[in-house]
Symmetry: C2
Subunit: 459 residues, 2 copies
Amino acid sequence: MSQSLDNALQFAQKHASRFVDQLGEFVSIPSVSTTPERFGDVRRAGEWVADQLRGLGMKNIQFFPPDTHPIIYAEYLEAGPDAPTALLYGHYDVQPAEPLDKWHSDPFSPTIRGENMIGRGASDMKGQVAATLFAVESVLKSGGKLPINLKFMIEGEEEIGSPHLKDFIAEHRDLIASDFCINTDTGMLSPTQPTIVYALRGLAYFELHVHGPKQDLHSGIYGGTVHNPAQALAELIAGMHDANGTVTLPGFYDKVRTLDPEERAELARLPLEGDTLIARTGVPQLWGEAEFTPTERLGARPTLEINGMYSGFIGTGAKTVLPAYAMAKISCRLVPDQNAADIKGQLEAYLKAHAPATIRWELLEHVHGNPSISDRNSRWVQAMMQAQETAWGVRPIFRREGGSVPVVTDLQTLAGMESINIGVGLPDDNQHGPDEKLHLPSFHKLIESLVRFFYILDK
Amino acid sequence: MSQSLDNALQFAQKHASRFVDQLGEFVSIPSVSTTPERFGDVRRAGEWVADQLRGLGMKNIQFFPPDTHPIIYAEYLEAGPDAPTALLYGHYDVQPAEPLDKWHSDPFSPTIRGENMIGRGASDMKGQVAATLFAVESVLKSGGKLPINLKFMIEGEEEIGSPHLKDFIAEHRDLIASDFCINTDTGMLSPTQPTIVYALRGLAYFELHVHGPKQDLHSGIYGGTVHNPAQALAELIAGMHDANGTVTLPGFYDKVRTLDPEERAELARLPLEGDTLIARTGVPQLWGEAEFTPTERLGARPTLEINGMYSGFIGTGAKTVLPAYAMAKISCRLVPDQNAADIKGQLEAYLKAHAPATIRWELLEHVHGNPSISDRNSRWVQAMMQAQETAWGVRPIFRREGGSVPVVTDLQTLAGMESINIGVGLPDDNQHGPDEKLHLPSFHKLIESLVRFFYILDK
């Protein structure tokens, strides 16, 4: 057994540079799921994944609707009914690359710079999907046998809120049934600090439209008598936080779990400091609820963010227009036990209370997903801790993460399955931003730790 | 003389439909001065004007820099040194037509719908420039002689703030020297109410940039610790007015002339009511300083408007980004005796006092022009009143207008010349907006009233 493990690890080392090349191939497919123009590319990225699975000898490969962004299922059940079964989750779609002029290389021509691969989706999360495939390959192609059963569930709609995944999980509960899920769509604290995420924030995403005059007006001819929709929107947005950075939507914090002293002490051990955040983001000063640490605000506190804002003339130069309307994309990150469904009502209540009679407003709902929190003492989590500690030489840290992985909640709620969240995204990877990067040594460590994990479960 | 007047008026009637066709030719040239892509078209519109002037036998036709949007000068001095001289001002450039999807016909394929011509620039102000030319033509081509001397000063940069006109006026004071200026870049109250504008608001236009993180961030990974620039901008904008709609910039109202009871009584005679404004604009309710009437707010009170606003992701769908920056186009309409130069200082003082330490800001200045106010009892104004009263059968009304015509201020300041502002733009002409229109009966009345004006001065 130790020989099989060694063989697999040696295989991974020997093929490390080919793994990077193959990942580059994957990243070069512009599988942006947010725009219909990229439907064909999203599909191509799915085919790439399916080809890899086929090459590894995975069985029962199926594409589930929608056709444009299929959910890909595959399985390997040769470890037998007495061995544990893991569901491997991932997504092959990526965020839009805009604004393109902020990139220093083509987002879909992956480039190696130092220890990093630069390209849209390299870190979120094609690198991790590929690492999972290469870990399996290292075992199977080095003469070994997988000591556990595997099921793959790789989707193409994560960046648009996984609109079909929830139904898929509910309808195919038996097909995907596993002892636990390995989810690599999360992050590490630093390249030297393996991290197991035990709580994730949920997301509720909206679009607020403020309508004023029936069409754009001349600001000189009408200015002073008509409430400017951009100004009215700004007034509404400004009122959504108080001076402390606390969200003012009525009832917003009612279901937020109070942090107990023990958990606050544990979170305080995380090496994330204000100065680090300032250096990473480049802001002149941090912001947010003064009574919580930055770590607590990122993981254990809900937020309300403006993701986009538009009104009137935004081209070069000066156009003296009084705009007909203004729009903001507004999203909340949620923590246990908040519920995405409640948030829309709270936002509507706020708008009913504060929107003036001089404008009309309209609230649209985009994606939403609930927050989740998991048990840190399961057999699977303990095995993963051991695998990571050996691979990195450092005991992993437990963390609440600020991002949202709705599939973790859905697997728990609909299929009774707990997730181990062990992605290797780094805080400075620029996920969703320009110059997204993947730290390649971390990518290789992920392969190694998964190989080790498989063999630990075999004991 | 009466025979010459009759001949000229008959000529204008006989050629009315050809005048409309020729105007259509002028409007079809997309002379958008705000974008370099249209430099050639702006130039073409200037050539169109010069060709007309040449056809009328105007002399000393000259193009002044810049080459892209030349100021066109021409003169007719045959009335002799004892006759009065009028400077005819106009501009042949137009606003951008965007958003194109809001137009019901191509903005540069002028279309007649009922009594109106639809097209970008038809009302602002190609219709009026053409009417001026056709009035001169009606006199000269019907066998008459112009009883006054004329000088033309037609520019192509009005919609970008006339960056070269001020210097031109200062440098060519002798060339353009006239007894008064006729400016048709203003509006009428209604098609049946000729209007002489005696005061115009000034303009000071800025762009405010709020910078947060050095690049777009993932709103889940950083949200709660970084001040969202869109939110920070909204907070700054929201603070620029109080709940009454009063601008809060320090010192903003210090130089605003108090309206005396006599002028308030005169302005109260204007048939502009709240219900009319609501019907025209389609807003659910008017807005603005409660202690002033809508008419007073439009003409005699300064404003601060948001002309455009941008941050983050504004495409279709949901992108969970925490934007790196946010931008607003902000402009103030100024009234006597405010000064555009003061406003930048006031805005900077406001930002210094209210911008938080969690963001960086930057203020750019675009165009600016001072407000103006004129004597209502000059010989030229009285003659124009008489001409309009005969043409429309209604005594003209005096008005303070909300828009800005910096050239009026510049001619007064730099060349000691007063302007008579008699444009026929209507409040529902959608100037600067989609479906801009020109009311053709008003266009013909403008031709008639100018012809009458020329002969009244001859008495």
